[in-house]
Amino acid sequence: MPQDIALPRSSLSGSTVLRTRKVSADRTLRWLLWACVFASLGLLVLYPLIWLIMGSFQTAMGEWTLGHYEEVFSSYYLNLLWDSLWFTFLATVVAMALGVPMAWAVARTDMPGKSLFRAASAVTFVLPPLFQAMAFVFIFQPNAGLLNLLFDDLFGVKPFDIFTFSGLVLVTALGAYPQSFLLVDSALRSMDPALEEAATTVGASRWRVLRSITLPLVLPSILTGMNLTAIHNLVVFGPPAVIGIPANIYVMATQIYVELSTFPPRLEFTAALSILFLGFAAILLTFQLFVLRRRSFSTIVGKGMRPREIPLGPWRWAAFALCGALVFTALLFPAAILVSISLSKVWTNWFQLDNFTIAHYVQVLFVHSRTLDSIANTLILALVTVASTLSAGLVIAYIIVKTRHRARQILNYLSFIPYSIPGAVFTVGVILAFIRPPFVLYGTLGILAACYFARFLPFAIQPLSAALRQIDNSLLEAGRVAGAGWWRTTRRITLPLLKFSVLSTVLLVFVACLREVVSAILLAAPNTETMMVSAFRLWEEGAVQETAALMVVLLVLVLVFFTVARSVIGNRLYD
């Protein structure tokens, strides 16, 4: 009875003509998107880099010179480079020493308070390092630091001095530990417990399993975490600016900032200096590529099985105390300090009831046009950046993953260049490129948007291409075969399937915009300050309470964002 399935088919022949037209529209649309992406990468990634290099060989008047390089290779700057690397190394080691054991304790033991530690670490991760740095100045400055005063009362000594190299390293590490913590925690959680159980069945002790099975399996995650932490520390601006500069300790980001914020600004020299730093950042990047290439076995994951928890016995409370101390020091204490300062009339009178005022919040949120504008600017920038990186990221991830386009490798490299370049360095290129015709963007929000786009695009491409890789080609081919053209397949199948990663990309880029300091501070014109720039400038002006109030506003924003993200994404947030 073949008849029961054979329905009238008249509608088919008629639509053939229509669809031929659709095909050409499809092709045009695709071509247009491809072209847009290539053009924007060329303009926003390649063009600033070309100017960074050209500028480093020019005087401010545009004459060619090697003079900048002569100065760059003087002992001061070579020392600075060495200091930067040494600082990066130490801060990374300390951050790893804090983050990795805590990750193990949270992921694999029966220590109490795990979700608290995860949440606190995630919030710390999202906060700009400027946050901790400012708070820690009040806690640990050598003479008037809160803890120093306390020790002075109790024991007659003031043991802490934050304005030292070790102070800088510790504060930076406290802000950087969540990177490795979150990575290793997620790797440990997703590891197939059968791998460890298998070792137990052949007679390995618990510690032997940890050493011979668990550790080697999460080693790639640890290395990746270390590398990301190192990159973070190499480019970090907040602690070196707030703690380093008063202590006369300069690192790459702050030196660039200083060179550019004095009069006359030495743009071209800074370009040459940036290129010196670039060479060393390239070493880290190469390491990163090396690690990522060898990562394949870290993807051996179980299917939602909960790993067995190792009972720590009474030690669980010791572990809890240690992790608690870390979370307290890195997040809760600094937050409490900033809140208390922001609510005080005279900030040197700690914790006195008659000292309470909300005037600074009123100033920051309702009166000062500067902070008001900066909040608006931050939100506008974040929205624009999210929209632009998301759309470009989708197209690029699609080309890289789902096509055999000849240029897709070039596209891949091009879009990841800014990721491998320290933010301050790339920003110097952006200034040099967009301070001159034909694309004069200097002094507008546009230059910040351009810089943010290039810098945060990898944040979008990474999760999107990972997600696209998860989508089997056959799902898209099934769409094509069923009669949907490229665009319809994309709209009806690809995009809906990417919904989750699109959402997390939005959150990721949004947070990156919120906490960005160094690019913003180098690019911001008076009317294009972001919240972080405003906070930093208020700090420079000595408006301590307003700075604290603005930082607390940021903290609230971050917490709101975090709660929203968690309710939308759930626990996968930590991955």
């Binding site: 089997d472 075969v481 053209g485």
Partner: protein
């Protein structure tokens, strides 16, 4: 329902041997044509070329009168305009759409009215016997159900041709067995032209009107399942389709109205086929075609003494591995056989069951 005709199709992925190396074949209207071969033989690539998911380098593909692809006249109809239905190996059900949406997708694209779409979805679900799962999400369906939905989705919009890429490979053994017949049944009811790709010869046997055996991008042999099974032309086909004992043979000469040659264990007579004598490399004989007897069977030629090495109980039959003058021969005998390992018996090959094959 139109036939598919492929002419001199070539597809290269990289410099080196072509994945599809100049094949020509005809998939007849309303019939099931199966491309059968080991992985890497080019069968899936051929199917994807028909679907328009790969662009061939040379050749021509036609669906009835319509040219789908021609390297000479530079025609390449995009996949979405070929009006083809395809069932993917992993079913490729869109996980974010319900069963209804999965099936209705192709219909909506063809501008069907809402009421017609609903009617058609019900019809299709009845056809694949899943009428009660219309609102289910694919993730909540079993493998067999997903398979049937995928089939329903591919058939919903009355495609000219149905392409099946290893349609049963992901099912467990029992379900696979059932679905073969079900698939065949549905194809017969719809009368759609079907092209199926599989590496499973028993699947091909049940499903196909015509089997095309492929090897290294070329067609090794094509024909009805019975023909392929009973008259393999090459050693490759004989080995790949079913089980076969291959007896090396030399010194072939005419003998009566047949041929005669030397095997390792003695002289053997066999019928003269269409093949040139010089090309004959081996004789193929199926395990179930070998006759076992305790004493020398006088009525049969080609009887040789043998020793039973191993007996393996297989359920419906018993596999016997016997040594015949140094060569191991596999024989499938009934369960009634009373014999033990180490027994000496005689094996006889009926000449009509001996198929000369090329190397």
């Amino acid at each position: 329902m139109k036939p598919i005709e492929i002419t001199s199709l070539v597809k290269r992925y990289a410099p080196g041997p072509a994945a599809v190396d100049g094949i020509s074949l005809l998939a007849e209207q309303g019939a099931v044509t199966t491309l059968l071969g080991p992985s890497g033989c080019g069968k899936t690539t051929t199917l994807r070329c028909i679907a328009g998911l790969e662009t061939p380098d040379e050749g021509e593909i036609r669906m009835g009168e319509q040219v789908l692809f021609s390297s000479r006249s530079r025609v390449n109809v995009p996949s979405e305009d070929r009006n083809i239905g395809m069932v993917f190996q992993n079913y490729a059900l869109w996980p974010h759409m319900s069963v209804r949406e999965n099936i209705g997708f192709g219909l909506a694209l063809r501008g069907w009215s809402r009421s017609r779409i609903i009617e058609r979805i019900r019809q299709v679900l009845d056809l694949v016997r899943l009428g009660d799962r219309i609102d289910a999400m694919p993730g909540h369906l079993s493998g067999g159900q997903q398979q049937r939905i995928a089939l329903g989705r591919a058939l919903a919009y009355n495609p000219e041709v149905l392409l099946l890429d290893e349609p049963l490979a992901n099912l467990d053994a029992r379900l696979r067995e059932e679905m073969r017949f079900e698939l065949r049944n549905i194809q017969e009811r719809t009368g759609v032209t079907a092209i199926c790709v599989t590496h499973d010869q028993s699947e091909a046997m049940v499903l196909s009107d015509k089997i095309v055996v492929m090897r290294d991008g070329r067609i090794e042999q094509e024909g009805a399942p019975r023909e392929i099974y009973e008259r393999p032309r090459t050693e490759f086909t004989a080995r790949f389709i079913g089980l076969s004992n291959l007896i090396g043979i030399s010194g072939i000469e005419p003998s009566g109205n047949g041929l005669r040659g030397r095997a390792a264990f003695g002289e053997i007579v066999f019928p003269d086929g269409t093949m040139e004598t010089q090309k004959i490399a081996k004789l193929s004989v199926r395990p179930e075609d070998v006759v076992v007897s305790a004493t020398r069977p006088d009525s049969l030629p080609n009887a040789f003494p043998a020793e039973i090495k191993t007996l393996v109980y297989q359920g419906e039959t018993v596999a016997m591995f016997a040594d015949v003058g140094g060569q191991e021969i596999r024989v499938h005998v009934g369960r009634g056989l009373e014999a033990a390992e180490g027994d000496r018996v005689f094996l006889a090959f009926h000449p009509s069951r001996l198929v000369p094959v090329e190397a």
